[in-house]
């Protein structure tokens, strides 16, 4: 499961992991703004951005190929829109769409691969993100595990009962559609159970962090240095 792997990455130890999530979020936002305003054919700037991300991944001791491979998850979407632009004759825009979406995804993976989600959400809350959004993200994260686990159980059960006669695409599609509806229903009940278990442990709608955030001087230096570098690269 991808999210489990990224979750494991986030538990690592490196100078990137040690940074306060707020510093990393601010740096990420600056990077995304700079990337979005970079011309699609400014290949030198984009190459420097890519190199910077690669350096970040290496400093964070994350597997470079693993991050790059997982970032490809965005390509089916960006390639579709890129193809549409290409067919409309706007090749530069098409290229820009694919490049920028891929680099943005790598940057986001670098952030979540070096920040455990509870800390990341605490950081977002401290930066003024509405509490409801933070809470929704926390639940979404929790339920992602639940849904993928349920899906795996269903898949296994389906495989166990899959005879030689299920080669027809139509019947497989029908079975998949049925499994999807069961998955929704099961996930709902499971999520209800989790919520009950949380209430039983005195949950009152707020996740209190075990390790409170501490914004140190080194975090300020990190945020300022990365933002300055991004702007410098963009201006150059």
């Amino acid at each position: 499961m991808h999210h489990v792997l990224v979750d494991q990455w986030s538990q690592g130890a490196s100078p990137m992991h040690a940074r306060d999530p707020r510093a990393k979020v601010v740096a990420l936002v600056a990077f995304l703004v700079v990337l979005a305003t970079t011309a699609p054919d400014a290949f030198a700037t984009l190459a420097i951005d890519a190199a910077l991300l690669a350096a970040g991944i290496l400093i964070a001791r994350l597997p470079l190929s693993g991050v790059l491979l997982r970032a490809m998850g965005v390509l089916p979407f960006s390639l579709t829109f890129g193809l549409m632009s290409w067919m409309a004759g706007d090749r530069v825009r098409a290229l820009g769409l694919v490049e920028k979406s891929y680099l943005s995804t790598v940057a986001v993976l670098l952030l979540i691969g070096t920040t455990p989600l509870p800390r990341l959400l605490s950081g977002l809350a401290a930066l003024g993100t509405p509490r409801l959004l933070v809470l929704l993200a926390q639940f979404l994260y929790r339920y992602l595990f639940v849904i993928s686990e349920q899906a795996q159980h269903l898949r296994l059960a389906a495989l166990c009962r899959q005879g030689a006669g299920t080669k027809h695409r139509r019947s497989r599609f029908r079975a998949a559609a049925g499994a999807l509806s069961v998955l929704f229903a099961r996930s709902y009940y499971r999520a209800e159970g989790i919520h009950r278990a949380m209430l039983a442990r005195a949950f009152a709608g707020r996740f209190a962090p075990l390790k409170p955030l501490r914004f140190r001087a080194s975090d300020a230096v990190f945020a300022l240095a990365t933002i300055s570098f991004f702007i410098l690269v963009r201006v150059e």
Partner: protein, 245 residues
């Protein structure tokens, strides 16, 4: 003796109209352990979910002298530690330590104190070496122990265990039995496993179609409702672990 749980004439109906509890009255004294028996769908789990206000029916519930009202909900949930049937529903934080500290943090404890409580609870269940592990990497028995630690860290006065032996192999069940016997809290055990229950509780109640139809000595209840897997008497079936005590 003043009961620590007192339930009077409790009724509950699910949204689909199914009547789940029908006039249940029940008491539990400090330090006492009681097993809740009954067929699937007889109302056992629905009943225990009423005790800390997760489900709300009609009737009076008092826990450690506190009437169960909206204002007392947080206090009551701190008094009753509930260990759910499926530990996966209970464990959701990235590490075992963070998960066990979840309850104490919700109780308003400072992170240092919550960490201390979590460490101590994990030590109590023999999982002190799993602090940094991810809960989804644990075995079923380990998950159950961590789930129990998550509840013990809140220092409850009453433990409610819903089908505690589910998913556990016999050695893990035996370990859990040892562990529970050493805990001083009053216990309510929802189970089909009469052998396991007999290792902890002397008293049992029996649920039938939402009604509490019998309350008495565990062996009498088991015999009266024929609540064992075997024709052998309960005394012959008890866990060997119990004989060590």
């Amino acid at each position: 003796m003043t009961p620590i749980i007192e339930v009077r004439d409790l009724h509950f109906q699910y949204a689909d109209g199914a009547k789940a509890l029908d006039g249940v009255s029940f008491t539990l004294n400090a330090g006492e352990s009681v097993a809740l028996f009954g067929a699937n769908g007889s109302g056992k789990t629905t009943f225990v979910l009423q005790l800390n206000g997760i489900l709300r029916g009609q009737g009076n519930i008092t826990v450690c002298g506190l009437p169960l009202t909206k204002d007392n909900l947080a206090a009551v949930r701190s008094k009753i530690g509930m260990v759910f049937q499926d530990s996966d529903e209970q464990l959701f934080m990235p590490t075992v330590l963070e998960d066990v500290a979840f309850g104490p943090l919700n109780q308003g404890l400072q992170p240092e104190e919550a960490t201390e409580r979590a460490r101590s609870a994990l030590e109590q269940v023999g999982m002190e070496n799993a602090l940094a592990r991810a809960p989804y990497h644990l075995s079923a028995g380990e998950k159950r122990k961590v789930a129990l630690a998550g509840v013990l860290a809140m220092q409850p006065e009453i433990l409610v265990l819903d089908e505690p032996t589910t998913f556990l192999d016999p050695p893990a069940q035996r370990n859990l039995l040892h562990l529970l016997r050493e805990l001083p809290q009053a216990k309510i055990i929802v189970t089909h496993n009469a052998m396991f229950a007999a290792g902890i509780a002397q008293r049992a109640v029996f649920f039938e179609r939402g009604k509490l139809v019998a309350d008495g000595l565990l062996e009498d209840i088991v015999q009266r409702f024929d609540w064992t897997y075997s024709a052998l008497p309960l005394s012959d079936l008890r866990y060997s672990a119990q004989r060590r005590f």
